[in-house]
Amino acid sequence: MLEKILLVDDDLPTNHLHQIILRKKGCANQVQVYQNASEALTFLERNEPDLILLDINMPKLNGWDFLDRYVATNWDKRGTRVIMLTTSLDPKDREKAMTYGVVVDLVNKPLTFELLDQILEKHFA
């Protein structure tokens, strides 16, 4: 079981649905949600979640900007893993995501129970 998950997505309903799915699955004690990347970065100054679920396409700071700053702050040396969420079908996004050592996967939104099972088995079993 994961202790803390951080959800970063600008879309409120998506965030809420993901939160419910994570809660129902009972896979984390604490799910923190942010609708914009810079607030999430501030949260990370004092918190070290086990997993960050990160949307790519967000206004102002997008997922890539978030990762750039995350790595620049050396937070990638922490034990946190990042899974990127996207609606994009572009394989280049996956390639790019994997260049950030901290990213372990890139999955299509929205999260479903099935997809979450796969993620947990693949990365947290």
């Binding site: 600008d10 879309d11 409120l12 309903p13 809420h16 649905l17 419910i20 206004p59 102002k60």
Partner: protein, 384 residues
């Protein structure tokens, strides 16, 4: 012409330049970076440089002498054209410069040449023949043709893409409307049986479907824009006032102060599109106002010889200049939907409109102080 070659006997005696006048002229002819030839009154070749003889495939200039264009490898219609031009230049006494024409060479190469033909007039004033020069411009013509081909292909591709966007958006509307209709019915019939979370999910489906319908409609509008543009005489001041009519509620609610300059001109444009431009830009100024600050919006005009240049300036939240290109792309948003509503099509529409009218749109802005949007429309000859 007599002054241009100044190498008579005095140079023949010059020890550092031991060459006769004849040899010097020959040297110039062969060193000259163009083909040179001359013909008599009947268009028979009398001389030229070796490059012409090579193009003609006759070996040396001597073999050309006395021959006409019909004895050369060029096509008959090319020869006809060359001789016609010779005739015209000799009878009018006026040079023809920069004639672009095809030429089939002896080696089978189809080339393009740029030719100058100048009448040769003797001291008595009689035209005795013609002087011609030409050079190969095949590469230039071919790259020009390639460019034209690419431009045509690009135009076709663009039209296809626009058509694709239109069809996709059009056909997506129906299932979306069905979804929206069904979810309304579901809510109506089963609302009481749903707990608060269930009701929230229904709300999400409704909101997302509505948003998608708005986006699809946005794509439809965007792809059809410019199809039936009607250019007419438009008073841009009136167009701007009409645009504010549609924003009446937002203006009243915010207490915004709008100043529309009396200098807004009467122009040749499409009334619908011009009004849409003003409506989007003023609408944005109202939407992105600073909290607690009364919006002040000024609409001005400053024209140049070639363009009408309008500006819509506000005292709103401003835009970081990093987004100077991004904001004009479709569905691009700089804020969360929960902070500011909208589909992210407004400025994309503005961008497309000004491009249709050969203009540009841009902004300068300071975050926290305001934004000045500027757009230009190309003046047409009929403008007042």
């Amino acid at each position: 012409m007599e002054d241009s070659v100044n190498l008579p006997e005095q140079n023949a005696s010059n020890a550092s330049f031991p060459i006769s006048e004849g040899e010097m002229l020959k040297l110039i002819l062969e060193s000259f970076p163009a083909r040179i030839f001359w013909k008599d009154r009947q268009s028979r070749f009398l001389g030229g440089n070796e490059k012409v003889a090579q193009d003609a495939g006759v070996g040396t200039v001597t073999n050309m002498i006395g021959k006409t264009d019909y004895d050369m490898p060029w096509k008959k219609e090319e020869a006809d054209f060359f001789v016609q031009v010779d005739e015209r230049v000799m009878s009018s006494g006026t040079p023809e410069l920069g004639i672009v024409e095809p030429q089939l060479r002896a080696d089978g190469k189809k080339s393009w040449i740029e030719t100058n033909k100048i009448p040769l007039v003797n001291k008595a004033g009689d035209t005795i023949g013609i002087l011609g020069t030409y050079h190969d411009i095949t590469e230039r013509i071919e790259s020009q043709k390639n460019l034209e081909k690419y431009a045509r292909e690009l135009e076709i591709k663009n039209r296809e893409l626009e058509q694709f966007a239109y069809i996709a958006a059009h056909d997506l509307q129906e299932p979306l409307r069905t979804t929206l209709g069904s979810v309304h019915l579901l809510e109506d019939a089963y609302k009481e049986q749903l707990d608060s979370e269930g009701q929230l999910f229904v709300q999400y489906i409704k909101d997302s479907t509505k948003r998608m319908l708005e986006m699809v409609t946005g794509v439809l509008e965007y792809s059809t824009m410019g199809r039936d543009i009607k250019i007419e005489t438009v008073n841009s001041h009136t167009a701007c006032l009409e645009a504010t009519e549609d924003l009446k509620h937002a203006i009243e609610a915010s207490g915004a102060i709008l100043t529309i300059s009396d200098d807004l001109p009467v122009i040749q444009a499409s009334k619908v599109e011009l009004r849409m431009l003003f409506q989007n830009l003023i609408g944005n100024a109202l939407k992105f106002k600073r909290p607690g600050v009364t919006p002040q919006i000024e609409i001005n005009h400053k024209g140049t010889a070639d363009f009408w240049c309008f500006s819509v300036c506000d005292n709103g939240i401003g835009i970081h200049t990093d987004y100077r290109e991004q904001v004009f792309k479709i569905f691009q948003r700089l804020h969360n939907r929960s902070d500011y509503e909208g589909t992210g099509m407004g400025l994309a529409n503005c961008h497309k409109i000004v491009e249709l009218f050969g203009g540009q749109i841009w902004f300068d802005s300071k975050e926290g102080e305001g934004t000045n949007f500027h757009f230009t429309l190309r003046r047409t000859g009929n403008d007042a």
